[in-house]
Amino acid sequence: MATETKGRFGFGSFILLLLVVLGIVLAIYRFANGLGAVTNLNQGYPWGLWIGFDILAGIALAAGGFVIAAAVHIFGGEKYHPLVRPAILTALLGYLMFIGGLLIDLGRPWMVWDMIFFHHHESPMFEVGWCVMLYTTVLFLEFLPVVFERYKMSGTIRAWMNLMPLVAIVLLVMFAWFLTHYGTWTVVIAAVLVIFELAVRGGAVPRDAKAPTLLIMAGIIFSTLHQSSLGTLFLMVPHKLDAIWYTPMLPAMFFVSAVMAGLAMIIVESTLSSKFFGRGLELNLLQGVGKALSWMILIYVAFRGVDLAVRGVGTELFAVSPQSIAFWIEVILGLLIPLAILLTPEGTASGRGLFWAGLLVVLGLIVNRMNVAVTGVSGGYWPTYYPRWSEVAISAGIVSLGILVYVILCRNFPVFEKEHTQAAEA
């Protein structure tokens, strides 16, 4: 992605397009012949690369959307506003990519609608499924103003500002009911949301002219819940997941590391898009994000360390095994080196240091999620699982498609700050 291309399609796009075509061909082959035809999964290792990379890592990396929306619209970090739209778009595409990956991984994806009709609300998978459906809807709604603005539909933006809080309340209350099937919780949650909206409309709480606060809140709540529930999935397997990763704190760990990775992803994505589109780099903003990132890494490292110490995991970390090596890659490459870069003044003075720190955190997060889903899991007497080339190719195809769509949307819609002027936006 050399600067002279300035957002035009070049050789890089051609390679991405080839990967997309290869992915589509392999996906067709997979649907004709079953999962066994393209994957190395077996009866002892039912989950592989697609769960670890496309789903667990993909969703965590898309956390940037809700993190930056929370920082800007709830916690008063308004100077970060230029980062919101690209982050929301990355998150939306990230979720769509993940849903694509999920539909390929599910054995009977045409039955995925069953989750709407058959509720087993004690299952963490049910929780994740619903949250993802609803959060993808929220992300789509958050991105809509960009489309309205592009086609100069200012009336529609006003209607959107009015309608969205109600939509957010409906989505949240519906979710509360499905997940509890318990009236009191649902009514209390509904009451809090309605009171907040009435306070905004009545003027007791100032209205945010740029975004419907409840919609942003819905996005944050759904994200918090399913980022952590992805960790809950693995609480079910104390007998299979290695002690290095199995902890009752797994849901909280997944949430904290998702916030961390979301921040890292904002740095990486802003840097790459500024290079690719030849626009200026928001260095002062990214330095702020880098500072937040270093705090999140510190919190996460402390959390992991205390958890390992409390549970008495020690010798396992220093025995030579695929698991302990994978653990140290995750910790050194993905946490300690980027932390060192971020804590040295020289590291954050330039965009390059920030970019590398962010990239390492992103890679480390991917290793972490792969460790929880694959490396740390024991499938008994079944042969150890390694991803087959066709699994990697399908994942690569999905990511390539996401990048291409991102580039096309950024070229045609007002995603970056200087191109848009109107007030209403997400």
Partner: protein, 261 residues
């Protein structure tokens, strides 16, 4: 709550149960090969067509090798991990004891396979329309007042069927009346919170290839606290976010005069 008692001491390895299971559940025969599994065991493992399998284990007893037979099938846990995991409730524990599968609503996520501590559910990896397959304790026979096919056909009383409490008593009796032969342990009494398939044996269960490092509580107990916290987290988050938003507006208004200076 009904249960099966498997007495590996009485098993002669005739595999009548395997055949009866296939016949009742209309599962086709598999292509097998001699010495494809351990010793004369055939087929090698449970599969989409083999829900009940007699395992052949060569165990060293008093210095000489002897055949000891085990049985592989769904353990029909009291609180099954697979059923707790299933997002659509396709797997369910029935009041009678069997853990049954509703293929029509299964989405194929395979979380049940990950959750099962006994590595029992099998997924049809070679099918474009794959299902999960496993023993269903002949729930259709139970509904007609019959007993499971494997228990019906067993000629030596190595598989008996009845109320779970009675089966536990029967197992204890068999152990007590022959204490030098039986190991003083009922496999399935506590494993994963207890199961509706109980095993007794003359040799340690590890030597029969049974998975023995299984938690004593139901797996659902690990997940419950996190799932129960969800509405509280929702409510807490809504309040914290609402208050933070209100607070942020106040600080911003406070900042404005300073910005004008």
């Amino acid at each position: 709550m009904k249960a099966l008692l498997i007495d590996t001491v009485r098993c002669t390895g005739c595999r009548g149960c395997q055949v009866a299971c296939k016949e009742w559940n209309k599962r086709p025969a598999e292509k097998t090969e001699f010495f494809g599994g351990p010793g004369y065991q055939n087929p090698k493992d449970l599969s989409k067509d083999t829900w009940c399998l007699v395992t052949y284990n060569e165990v060293k007893i008093n210095g000489r090798f002897e055949w000891v037979f085990g049985k592989k099938q769904c353990m029909h846990c009291l609180e099954p991990g697979c059923a707790s995991a299933c997002p659509v409730g396709a797997l369910k524990k029935t009041e009678d004891g069997p853990v049954v599968y509703r293929p029509g609503i299964c989405i194929g996520c395979r979380y049940c396979m990950l959750a099962c501590p006994f590595l029992v559910p099998r997924f049809e990896f070679d099918s474009p329309n794959p299902y999960i397959t496993k023993c269903r304790m002949c729930d259709d026979r139970l509904a007609m007042g019959e007993i499971p096919a494997c228990a019906k056909v067993c000629p030596t009383g190595a598989i008996v069927f009845g109320e779970r409490d009675d089966m536990i008593r029967e197992a204890q009796q068999r152990i007590a009346s022959n204490p030098s032969v039986y190991l003083h342990k009922i496999y399935g009494l506590e494993e994963a919170g207890g199961t509706c398939v109980l095993h007794i044996s003359s040799v340690p269960f590890e030597e029969l290839g049974y998975i023995t490092d299984i938690p004593k509580q139901a797996l659902a107990t690990r997940v419950e606290p996190a799932m129960k916290a969800i509405p509280a987290v929702m409510l807490g988050a809504a309040i914290v976010l609402g208050v933070s938003y209100k607070f942020r507006n106040r600080t911003r208004q406070g900042e404005e005069p300073a910005a004008r200076e």
